[in-house]
Amino acid sequence: MKSWIQVFSIIDLISVGILLTAIVMNALTRLESYVRVYTFNSWLLSSLIAIVAFMIGETHLYIASVTTLLSKGIVIPLFLKKIVRQMKVTHDIEPYISNTLSLAISGILVAVVYTSLREGIFITGVSKNVLQISVAVILIGLFIMITRRKAITQVIGLLFMENGLFLAGFSLTYGMPIIIELGVLFDMLMGVIILGIFSVQIKRAFTSADLDKLTTLKG
């Protein structure tokens, strides 16, 4: 089976999938689809870790894969869905820029990352593409945060950044010691819950879930 993984370059396939799920966000118009894409992205991340764990036979990577699946693949998406339902917001994203432009800029971001990291200062061992893809995912997450105006879209942008970050850490060193990863995951879960609470409060206080209403504090 190990040879199968290499023959069909499954690792590259999955990491390209991770990149595509990030890029697809630019074309989506509804909050629910954002949550769904994030879920899919997390599942891909988890399966990538599981496959590498199988290839190099590391137990702690299996644990990392399972915890990723549980937290990012199941708990956080369910929580986000609940928040979206609870806020009863209009479900359209209404980005600041058009989807076409947004897609084009994401494409340029990926190209820039690939050219600037072409030298490959980090030899990953797993795949030559994983680091570039992870940095691209981080940047696309940031880009989504900047250009979308709903509170939840910022949270999802942030979550994409964290997924990209995990992928980067994983491609550099096969992940951190498991205790550290659990700690980081715990912080992330808490962060999502607190952001969820605040987005409900924003909706209540500003009678809108749009962040461009948040302009009372200046100077």
Binding site: I121, F122, I138, L142, M145, A151, Q154, L158, M161, E162, L165, A168, G169, L172, T173, M176, P177, I180, G183, V184, F186, D187, M190, G191, I194, L195, F198, S199, Q201, I202, A205, F206, L211, L214, T216, L217, G219
Partner: protein
């Protein structure tokens, strides 16, 4: 020993949350704060002779940790005392309920716990987890009043700092990668071990890691140009929390950068990090100067002062050498004292005048002789007037700049400091003097006045001479940073 220091605030938080009687909550809060102060003394003294490890090697305390921990514990103690009166008045005027009060004290002690954890973590990733913890807990405190402004401030705070800190984690991954290439197989994230292998770490990898760390922790420390969250968060949080945010949280994050600088300097040489620190330090000072002059809200004014002073601290580290770093570290302590004092006195002003606009406040000295006088003295101190403590540390940094021939830094520093001096006198002068618009109500609280006077005395005494114990801690800490 370290375990007990970390356990006490957590237990205090749990107790504060589970009790439903106002007096009981306040006594638990005070008891917890005093107990923490007492328990933290033995490890702090012990580290003067040798570092302590705990929990394997996850927790570690050397003189530098002790120094920051001492400041955290001290400011937490006075904040706990001050909170009783301040939040008591908020309850009295019906702004918050007992349930809010329980949340407030529980979150405050959790916040103190996360800050203490940053001072003692040896593992870089544990430090990261602790810093992210401070963001999450304090964001809830920033949004405490649930007003539009408070929610907006909390949202900006948590989003900006979490994004920033995500980059810091990438920096940590890169450092871990560098250590794997040196040690083979399992790398290390422990600061003590990284320090030992630092001269063999790949310089260009470490440079890249440092950039990410600087962006990440720099956001949290309040460096310009990623300081936008800071004035919002500091002005919307309850006043005692503003004191914690400004007085110690910024420094905890700054120490993360310092710990990393110690490693990076051994790998790349001093020039790289010191240039970056000088650049961000002076940029922060410059941007803060502009905003200080234009400010109309005194809590935001104080927040911009925090940016200025974190800039001064970074500049001191950038100048480097024994006295540059010494001045910086001393400035961390001095700024914590003076800024806490300013937030406390202006908190009293807010309770009396019900406004945070500078133009609405007049004649504080007539209405509140103790708080008003101390506010004016502290304002003079923060502007760098002798004989107060801030003058001493700023002078040491300037002297270091002259000694090492950093004339551009020296010139910019003096220009900014002079402009800020004018701004501070203008703003605080108009608040302290004049005829009050409102009639004098009740007298000033005795406990609050006592706390203010004690801290004012510390501010004054530390401007004249540095106590021997503090001097020892400082000397040992500087030796850790510059590596002799």
């Amino acid at each position: 020993m370290i375990g007990a220091v970390l356990l006490i605030p957590v237990l205090t938080a749990l107790l504060c949350y589970s009790v439903k009687n106002r007096r009981a909550i306040e006594y638990i809060n005070l008891f917890g704060a005093f107990l923490l102060a007492g328990v933290s003394i033995p490890p702090i003294i012990a580290t003067l002779s040798s570092p302590i490890f705990s929990l394997g090697s996850v927790l570690y305390m050397d003189a530098l940790s002790s120094y920051i921990m001492a400041i955290v514990v001290l400011i937490s103690l006075v904040t706990a005392i001050y909170s009783v009166d301040y939040m008591g008045q908020e309850i009295g005027s019906g702004i918050i309920t007992i349930k809010d009060l329980r949340h407030y004290y529980a979150l405050m002690h959790l916040f103190i716990f996360t800050m203490l954890l940053t001072t003692v973590s040896n593992n870089l990733a544990v430090f990261w987890i602790a810093i992210e913890g401070t963001t999450l807990v304090s964001a809830l405190l920033v949004g405490f009043y649930k007003s539009r402004q408070a929610i907006e401030a909390a949202w900006k705070y948590i989003i900006l700092c979490t994004v920033g800190i995500t980059f810091a984690l990438l920096g940590i991954f890169i450092a871990y990668y560098a250590s794997v290439s040196v040690m083979g197989g399992k790398g290390t994230l422990n600061w003590t071990e990284l320090k030992d292998i630092a001269d063999r770490l790949n310089p260009s990898t470490m440079k890249l890691a440092f950039i990410f760390i600087l962006v990440g922790y720099g956001t949290k420390a309040g460096f310009a140009p990623v300081h936008n969250w800071l004035p919002d968060a500091h002005s919307q949080a309850p006043t005692p929390i503003s004191a914690l945010l400004s007085g110690i949280l910024l420094k905890c994050s700054f120490i993360g950068i310092i710990r990393f600088i110690i490693i990076v300097n051994r790998s790349t040489g001093v020039a790289y990090t010191s240039q970056l620190m000088l650049f961000f330090g002076l940029l922060s000072m410059g941007i803060a100067t502009a905003f200080i002059l234009l400010q109309t809200n005194y809590k935001r004014l104080l927040a911009y002062h925090s940016i200025e002073h974190i800039g001064i601290i970074a500049t001191g580290v950038g100048i480097g050498g024994f006295w540059g770093v010494y001045g910086s570290l001393l400035h961390i302590f001095n700024h914590a004292i003076v800024k806490t004092l300013l937030f406390f006195t202006t908190g009293e002003v807010r309770l009396r005048y019900h406004s945070t606009k500078i133009e609405k406040v007049k004649g504080v000295m007539t209405l509140m002789p103790v708080a008003g006088t101390i506010m004016l003295l502290a304002a003079l101190a923060i502007a760098g007037t002798p004989p107060f403590n801030i003058f001493l540390s700023e002078f040491i940094i300037l002297k270091a700049a002259a000694d090492y021939g950093k004339w551009t830094t020296l010139a910019l520093f003096i220009v900014f400091a002079t402009i800020i001096f004018g701004g501070v006198l203008h703003h605080f002068g108009s608040m302290a003097f004049g005829k009050p618009d409102i009639s004098g109500g009740e007298k000033e609280g005795k406990t609050v006045s006592a706390v203010l006077i004690i801290m004012a005395v510390v501010m004054f005494v530390c401007g004249l001479y540095i106590p021997a114990f503090l001097e020892d801690l400082l000397h040992n800490s500087v030796r850790i940073i510059i590596g002799i």
